[in-house]
């Protein structure tokens, strides 16, 4: 292969496969896997990020591999959209792989070498998905991504609930894959040529284009975790080991977004306005549902999983806005909405993986996942605590970190929606902006709960006194991701210049004309008079005023501090159990958003000898949608079991009858 960016990418992916194979050869040699293989994987990921950075500005490059089906070899193509998502993959995977090098330990159900195999197969298949240029290659890569992540999710397969989570994950992944396959079937439009290049040239009738879009939304949405196909996310992410959860949340969900963008803006040659409204509605429902449920969880990783659902909702809302603007020909505004969407993909990858890795460190240090048994870890694990603070503030969407920038861009895009020509739309969409603002405010609530209950306060269990900070590899991984959060927050203009290369081919316009006119420090996407934000000046101003206050107070007064017990209001027996539990902190949301939940309460009666009070908050969609469907499927398959007789002569008769029928047909 030549040394073009595409060739280098394919070489890196093959190198990952080789690393995985090496892990297979020596499954139990922990030191080899942890000290050699995973760091090598991290280096390769960083190299991938550099290659992708160079490839974003380059023109598209195509390569046909001598593998695959006889009349459909694997086509690969690297254009700006692929390069952007490869950059995301490489940058985040570098940090996660370094962390995993320190995190991996034996005795967790799967041998380290096998984990290395599945991990690198996962990374390689994601890279192949992002550069695939024909339907067959895409589906092969998609399936290997699903299968390798299934084995990663069920790493600790000795526990029944983890096996169950893996099964549910695989099931919904395949339902989505069927939908994607059907979508590709529609896209080829009768030419029987399944390469993406041929699909680009086909001009489908509006009805078939709509069918293709809806199939893509359902299929890629199942992988991304939109309502109502989200039930696998809160089960699979907590079940997987933390580096895998981080990768799944950060990168795998974004490959689904990549697929959606690729189909809607690249393979379909035109967009219809109501597709955008459907995507907007689905995204809004997903965002509100995700954040409301994450506020009532009492397991660290489930909370983060539901928060991922919320962020995917944001991304789909941005996507819907982009489609609506593009359908009305408002290309500059479509570019703004697309920039907000892509920026949020990048941001979420960084801050969510940082938080998942932090929970991994906490899990290994304390062996506890339940929020009700943690607390006060900022004293025992300062590195993890302070870096997780960066992640929590970024997830809450607070300035000057990266979460705020994409939220700012999305709200700016919403402010332009009254220019839309349709009467209902230009009234309904500002209401959607209100819902987005509500979801963003609730995510701040969730992050205060998460950070406050895990790291702050006093330890709720005595064994937490033995917790300690993780090793150097894990710290490097966490620092890498936290630095990314800060950099993405402070230097948005540079990132937008990169994203412009992606939005240009997709929607026809970029933001670069406006950003070129303004200063490098100020983010002014449309017009500096209209809206302007400078995170660098903001941070400088905040730090200057804070430091000035500190110096002034020290200079004019003094810095004496005395230590004393906290205020106990006259009750001398305060202990750590009297702090808020996770359920307690989520109670206001549970009361205010009561119609969303299905709550099962266990109430004691006066006659109980050992009274118990329990509250279980569950997902109502599981009971309204999934269980009825499961019952229908079981009943239908009950008819098929009639065929199973258990006697060999009956089965032989089936084969014989088939043979006779075929002979009859062929004669």
């Amino acid at each position: 292969m030549n040394s073009s960016p595409l060739g280098l990418t394919l070489a890196i992916a093959v190198a990952w496969l080789a690393l995985g194979a090496l892990g297979l050869i020596a499954p139990r040699r922990l030191r080899f896997v942890a000290h050699v293989l995973f760091p090598l994987g991290a280096v390769l990921a960083a190299a991938l990020a550099v290659v992708a950075l160079g490839a974003i500005a380059a023109p598209p490059h195509v390569y046909v591999a001598p593998l695959g089906l006889p009349d459909l070899p694997f086509h690969f193509r690297m254009d700006a959209l692929s390069a952007f998502f490869l950059l995301l993959l490489g940058a985040v995977a570098a940090g996660v792989s370094v962390f995993a090098a320190g995190y991996i330990r034996p005795g967790e159900g799967t041998a380290p070498g096998l984990q290395c195999l599945w991990y690198h197969l996962f990374l390689a298949s994601m890279a192949f998905v992002l550069v695939a240029d024909d339907a067959y290659g895409f589906m092969v890569a998609w399936e290997s991504m699903a299968v390798s992540s299934f084995f990663l999710v069920t790493s600790d397969h000795r526990q029944a609930e983890i096996r169950r989570a893996g099964y549910l994950y695989l099931l919904i992944a395949h339902v989505g894959a069927i939908s994607i396959l059907l979508c590709f079937g529609v896209l080829q439009g009768g030419t029987n040529d399944y390469t993406f290049g041929a699909m680009r040239a086909v001009k489908l009738a509006p009805f078939w284009a709509t069918v293709a879009f809806l199939l893509a939304l359902a299929g890629f949405g199942a992988k991304a975790g939109i309502l109502p196909l989200h039930v696998w996310l809160p089960e699979a992410h907590p079940a997987a080991p933390s580096p895998v959860s981080a990768l799944m949340s950060a990168v795998m969900l974004k490959t689904a977004i990549y697929g959606l963008l690729r189909v809607t803006f690249d393979l379909l040659h035109t967009q219809i306005w109501w597709w955008g409204v459907v995507a907007l509605a689905v995204g809004l429902a997903t965002a509100i549902f995700g954040v409301v449920f994450s506020a009532v969880q009492n397991d660290m990783k489930r909370l983060l999983a539901y928060s991922s659902i919320e962020n995917i909702g944001f991304i789909v809302v941005g996507f819907g806005l982009t489609v609506t603007f593009a359908a009305y020909g408002m290309s500059a505004l479509a570019a703004l909405a697309l920039t907000a969407t892509l920026y949020h993909c990048l941001n979420h990858a960084y801050f969510k993986s940082l938080l998942f890795l932090a929970t991994g460190s906490v899990l290994h240090a304390t062996r506890e996942r339940a929020l009700g048994k943690l607390g006060g870890l900022i004293h025992r694990m300062p590195w993890v605590a302070w870096l997780a603070l960066v992640g929590a503030l970024a997830t809450a969407g607070l300035p000057p970190l990266n979460g705020f920038v994409s939220e700012w861009l999305l709200l700016q895009a919403f402010l332009f929606t009254p220019d839309l020509p349709d009467g209902y739309l230009n009234m309904l969409v500002p209401v959607a902006a209100a819902a987005i603002a509500l979801a963003a405010a609730l995510s701040a609530y969730v992050m205060v709960k998460f950070y406050g209950v895990v790291f702050l306060g006093q330890p709720r269990e005595e064994k937490l006194a033995e917790a300690h900070d993780p090793g150097i590899a894990e710290r490097i991984g966490l620092v890498w991701l936290a630095a990314g959060c800060v950099a993405l927050g402070i230097l948005p203009v540079q990132v937008i210049r990169l994203i412009d290369f992606v939005s240009g081919p997709l929607v026809g316009k970029t933001l670069s004309e406006a950003t070129a006119r303004s200063h490098w420090m100020f983010l002014a996407p449309i017009d500096p008079q209209r809206a302007s934000y400078s995170p660098l000046l903001f941070v400088v101003g905040l730090v200057v005023v804070t430091l000035a206050a500190w110096f002034a107070v020290r200079r004019f007064y003094h810095g004496r501090v005395r230590r004393a017990p906290p205020w106990d209001c006259g009750f001398p027996l305060l202990n750590a159990r009297m702090q808020d539990t996770a359920e307690g902190f989520g109670q206001p949301v549970r009361v205010v958003f009561d119609p969303f939940f299905r709550v099962e309460r266990e109430l004691p009666t006066p006659a109980d000898a050992a009274p118990r009070y329990g509250v279980k908050v569950e997902d109502p969609l599981w009971y309204w949608l999934y269980l009825p469907i499961a019952r229908v499927v079981e009943r239908l398959t009950g008819f098929v079991t009639v065929l199973q007789r258990g006697r060999i002569s009956v089965y032989l008769m089936y084969s014989f009858a088939t043979l006779l029928v075929l002979l009859f047909l062929v004669r």
Binding site: Y445, V553, V592
Partner: protein, 318 residues
């Protein structure tokens, strides 16, 4: 972006003025409340005396506090000062304005809220987490409402930069915007909630179980408490100035000439005095709501703010 040294001087003056005047506004509101209740009152300058007394004392920190607890008062003060720097109080020529717009203003206020909530959870007593939980509950309904109010003003003036919004709103010929009326009612309700005033929270209570804001700062003392209280009065000042800038912007100097700014100062003081008196009046006439009636109150504010947006789209765009 037009940067001028006179503009920078004006901006710095406005910031220093805001920091110095904020306790005076708080003192005036408390004094009005006392007068309305037929009491003598503590005097308008009482907050300054309190600050001086607190700064001189030792800071007492609980045993389990982390460095986060000691850093937060400074961060809080810094964030509120930044908010005061963005809101046009005297003039609209603010060189710092391009650094942060209306959405960033809401972001700064959210940052301050999250910071104090985390500090409250740091000690690990029941009161701190109670206060944090209630404050975040008030916050997650009030913040979107405030954002929608600012959006209404932004849609009318076609910009999110506060300085430009004030310029546009104050320089149009007599134009009455009904959407701003709805937004005004919503804004009043939101500022009552965010500044911990009756009917959401009683700033003078000493019963821990009824506190929202006070419960979060129970553990602070000495210079830390002084900074937190100063930041709270700055927050009241900022909210009052936002209200004045959006709904009564007459008198704010356009551009940065010195005479305009000098004339704007008495106008600002007069408007703040009237606003403070009205705030005290509302507080005296209302009763504190039960904690779970507060989401209803704020939900009403949120819906009114959304209605303001809709009214703008329906009535005011051709």
């Amino acid at each position: 972006m037009s940067f001028s040294w006179s503009g920078a001087a004006a901006q710095l003056t406005e910031l220093v003025l805001a920091i110095l005047l904020a306790p005076l506004l708080l003192g005036w509101v408390n004094q009005c409340r006392a007068w309305l209740q037929n009491k003598g009152g503590p005097g308008v300058l009482r907050p300054y005396l309190m600050l001086r007394r607190l700064f001189a004392k030792d800071a007492i920190v609980a045993h389990g506090a982390s460095p986060l607890f000691r850093v937060v008062p400074y961060v809080l003060f810094g964030a509120m000062s930044m908010a005061a720097a963005i809101v046009p109080t005297l003039g609209t020529d603010l060189p710092y304005a391009p650094a942060a717009d209306a959405i960033a203003l809401v972001g700064i206020l959210a940052l301050a809220r999250v910071a104090i909530a985390l500090a409250a959870m740091d000690i690990g007593t029941a009161f701190g987490s109670l206060g944090a939980r209630r404050e975040m509950m008030v916050g997650f309904l009030a913040e979107p409402a405030l954002l929608m109010v600012l959006f209404t003003a932004s849609l009318i003036s076609q910009t999110t930069s506060l300085a430009t919004t004030v310029e546009t709103l104050s320089s149009r010929e007599l134009a009455i915007y009904p959407s701003l009326a709805f937004a005004g009612v919503a804004f009043t309700m939101v500022s009552l909630a965010e500044n911990a005033r009756i009917p959401i929270d009683n700033p003078a209570t000493h019963l821990e179980l009824t506190m929202i804001h006070e419960a979060m700062i129970l553990e602070y003392s000495g210079r830390h408490l002084a900074l937190v209280e100063w930041a709270a009065s700055l927050k009241l000042f900022v909210y009052s100035c936002i209200g004045i800038a959006l709904f009564f912007p007459f008198g704010i100097a356009q551009g940065g000439d010195a005479t305009g700014l000098l004339l704007a100062l008495p106008a600002l003081v007069l408007k703040l005095a009237i606003g403070g008196f009205l705030l005290a009046l509302i507080e005296t006439l209302s009763a504190k709501l039960r904690i779970f009636r507060a989401p209803e109150f704020l939900g009403t504010a949120f819906i009114l703010a959304v209605l303001a947006l809709l009214l703008h789209a329906f009535l005011e765009t051709p």
